[in-house]
Point group: C2
Chain length 289, copies 2
């Protein structure tokens, strides 16, 4: 297991962005302090990456953004086709080899700093150079810590990561990559990933009270295609700690093996065969996208 | 009971503000989309008003802002004395007869849109002309609706009001002034107020899992001074509906009588004598501030 100097694998390079109808330089995006995304946390977002210079699983990310917004009663002010065109244009303008596309929708500017008025949404597309996690993490596995917590309306990707940020120093001190949320002894999800376990050859992942990850769904599809037994169901804390293998999935992480949880070794403390096989399947799928 | 056309009693007039070290016009405040107050909901705030052209209970509001920030591991980048001076300067510059002072602290700009780096905070003071609620509400009482919900880390005034905003249309449809949060049959607080009930002459208000309101504390003090029996304790849903009187407290509302909850009349449906007496006590206190 290796340690991480930085909290993230995202670069600080960002150039052209989209803000309320226009392509603009990042520095020209000016959010008002009366934007209820800032003042009231009324906003959702999504994070997509590129593969072979194309947006990877755009339709799925777009649908999830729409679902998140709908859950809050928030309108998404543009249509999918237009979104796709803007993203493609921004990818060209920015010219990163690999990109992260971060799309944010908030309730927008509000005179009284509270009321949401449909049609006033703030809609932003940000682009960043994508720098993957170090290769060693995939080869040697990562450690994670646990935290008692369940997200508010977890099926929506709301811009509320206070619990994750509060736990960053503890995470760093533990040399961990992620924070796994557990509520009433039930494994839910990690702060920016989904979690899977492998037991007796079966691949198991929670399905309730979580954000349904795009990579999570893809991994389930690949596992089924490869005749692995797949279970979407509750996982108890006890079960997780006695798993043969554990891994995380996320758009910016793909599949990351987990070999340690809260200082307890998982399996034999090495990346297991089912995880390795799924990493290979995912790599193949991604390369041919 | 009367109905409300607007969601708020705050005016849209705002002029001079304070932003990261400088007094600036509101329109010159530019928040980056990489501010983790926007992107990750990592921010706290407080709302104060003026009385006789002076900040009302500044020390109490400042302390609460500090407590909220501390709860999140967030630094408040200026000291109280400096804050007081800036507020007084802004009050002069804006020249409203009555003002609302809204102070916001977020984790600030973050290169990766996630990591909080102490020293990078966004610190904003906004001023608005204060327009109190219509007098009839105090004379005839308001209606409220209930919602099953408890806030995350309720002792901190975090900028997360998604549940309140989600319920605005239902609130409006009911002609209600507020949304009262109830969890497991226990009355907690309203979306932007504290709640009190009166039973057999005793004044009762929750004390756990809520934001400890500045007006709430003042009302308790005034009630005790006036020899009223005062109880800070859990209130069950059943108890609330069988109360003799119910009222809300908030900085921008003072004491608002509640005569209807979810279409059920409270007491005889009129503003009760204990509520009236406390409104008078508070008015007296405020006038002499």
């Amino acid at each position: 297991m290796i340690e991480y100097k930085s909290d993230t694998n995202l670069s600080i390079m960002k150039k052209y962005s989209y803000f309320n109808g226009k392509i603009v330089a990042l520095k020209n995006i000016k959010i008002s302090p009366y934007d209820i995304g800032l003042l009231r946390g009324y906003g959702v977002f999504d994070v997509m990456r590129t593969q072979n210079s194309k947006p990877f699983l755009l339709a799925e990310h777009w649908q999830r953004l729409k679902n998140s917004a709908k859950d809050l009663g928030l309108n998404v002010p543009i249509a999918k086709e237009r979104y796709k065109k803007i993203v493609e244009r921004l990818l060209k303008l920015n010219g990163f080899k690999k990109s992260i596309v971060r799309t944010v929708v908030t309730g927008g500017y509000s005179d009284n700093g509270f009321s949401y008025q449909p049609g006033k949404e703030t809609f932003i597309i940000l682009m960043e150079k994508f720098i993957p996690l170090p290769k060693e993490i995939y080869a040697r596995g990562a450690g994670v810590i646990t935290q008692k917590f369940s997200r508010y309306r977890p099926q929506a990707k709301i811009t509320n990561y206070v619990e994750a940020i509060r736990n960053q120093s503890r995470k760093k001190a533990a040399g961990a990559l992620e924070i796994v949320y557990i509520e009433n002894g039930k494994i839910l999800e990690a702060s920016t990933s989904n979690i899977f376990m492998v037991k007796d050859g079966a691949v198991i992942t929670p399905k309730d009270e979580i954000l349904i990850g795009i990579t999570r769904n893809l991994v389930i599809k690949l596992a089924k295609k490869n005749k692995l037994k797949c279970e979407e169901r509750n996982i108890s804390e006890k079960e997780l700690f006695s798993a043969d293998e554990v891994f995380l999935t996320a758009t910016t992480k793909n599949i990351v093996p987990v070999v340690k949880i809260d200082n307890k070794k998982i399996g034999n403390g090495r990346v297991g065969p089912v995880t390795k096989s799924l990493i290979n399947q995912l790599e193949k799928f991604v390369k041919n996208y």
